[in-house]
């Protein structure tokens, strides 16, 4: 952009020569509108686009890497509550605000968190649990489980949970107890509650 330099020619006693334009100062090359591919790639304001991308990446990493763990159900043990192929999230921060409690559906880690169990907490640390003809008894009291459909008559010996153990089991008890992973898991193995 060129700017006209104001010269007080009259004040100096010189009259401008006819035909001459007033002197100008060059402030550098003129700013052109960005090309269409630049607009597509980095937007009209690359610096702002960069900040937006950075913030989005940071948020995505924080939410999906640290707080919510996306999962896809791959097994029948939580049917009919959670069916095969359903997508959900495990909230890893859920136990920071409220400790695991009975009825929570939780993710439980194996060697890591790539493959996890999705089960329900039915008994808490220090409690005694046993299955009698398909019914769970906690400290000799039957547990009401409205989410169950046609449970098989599982019979299992009473188990005393330790101070750091939670008893977890899936909702699908139509299957054989031998084929259904369930038992006392340590608190440190619980990743968090399922979000939906």
């Amino acid at each position: 952009m060129k700017t006209a330099l104001p010269i007080a020619s009259d004040a100096l006693g010189f009259a401008p020569i006819r035909g001459m334009t007033e002197p100008t100062i060059d402030e550098g090359p003129s700013r052109r509108a960005p090309a269409w591919w630049q607009i597509i790639l980095v937007g009209r304001n690359p610096r702002f686009t960069g900040v937006r991308v950075g913030v989005t990446v940071l948020l995505a990493w924080l939410v999906f890497g640290e707080i919510l763990r996306p999962i896809r159900v791959a097994g029948p043990s939580m049917e009919p509550t959670y069916r095969f192929g359903q997508v959900n999230f495990i909230n890893r921060w859920s136990f920071k605000f409220r400790p695991p409690s009975r009825g929570d559906v939780v993710g439980v880690r194996m060697a890591g968190e790539s493959v996890i169990y999705l089960k329900r907490i039915v008994a808490l640390p220090g409690e005694r649990i046993r299955f009698r003809r398909g019914k769970i008894h906690i400290n000799d009291e039957p547990l009401d489980e409205p989410y169950l459909r046609n449970p098989a008559p599982w019979n299992e010996a009473e188990m005393q949970l330790g101070p750091d153990e939670f008893f977890i089991v899936g909702d699908n008890r139509t299957m054989s107890a031998r084929d259904h992973t369930h038992g006392a898991f340590r608190r440190s193995d619980l990743i968090g509650r399922v979000l939906f």
Binding site: M110, A111, S114, V115, I129, E156, F185, R186, D189
Partner: protein, 169 residues
């Protein structure tokens, strides 16, 4: 371009290349990871593979174990189940593979710990999906890896039960 900026650029490129070379250098841990990945690849086969290909896979799979390899799964299977020696592993694989139409085996969350120069411990979750079935079976394992003649082989496999299971009556 200013000479100092040019030198800075060269230094940055050299550092980046050096960092990449350091990152991708072959270490024993990487060799072990590769060996375990190969184990899963050999255990995976599709229904379209012919008998010769399956036999080759069985041979390759058995060759990934030491002569006196031990496989213990009685922690998770309520029977005295176990295999001892490469030959018994080969026989079981030979008998079992034709029964399965296809199977996909994957290794997840592999952790490797070097015990000394020739032995290492690996903990992992293995998942298997048999052809035509929706269910995925998953199990934690601990592997003892042994280096023999420059090759990392599986010396011991033990299934881990990471929880207390009730006694079924």
């Amino acid at each position: 371009m200013n000479r100092s900026i040019r030198w800075l650029l060269v230094a940055a490129v050299v550092a980046a290349v050096g960092g990449l070379a350091w990152n991708f250098r072959p270490t024993e841990e990487k060799r072990i990871r590769k060996a375990i990945g190969g184990l899963a690849a050999d255990a995976t086969f599709s229904g379209r593979e012919g008998n010769f290909a399956k036999i080759a896979k069985i041979e390759s799979l058995a060759g990934r174990f030491t002569e006196d390899a031990d496989i213990r799964i009685d922690q998770v299977v309520p029977i005295d189940a176990g295999l001892h020696g490469r030959e018994s592993i080969r026989q079981v694989l030979g008998a079992g593979m034709p029964l399965l139409g296809s199977i996909k085996v994957q290794v997840h969350d592999l952790r490797v710990e070097m015990l000394d120069e020739l032995t290492a411990k690996a903990v992992l979750t293995a998942s298997a999906q048999a052809g035509g079935q929706r269910d995925i079976a998953a199990q934690e394992f601990e592997l003892r890896m042994v280096k023999q003649r420059g090759r990392w082989l599986v010396g011991r496999v033990e299934a881990i039960l990471g929880y207390r299971r009730p006694v079924i009556q």
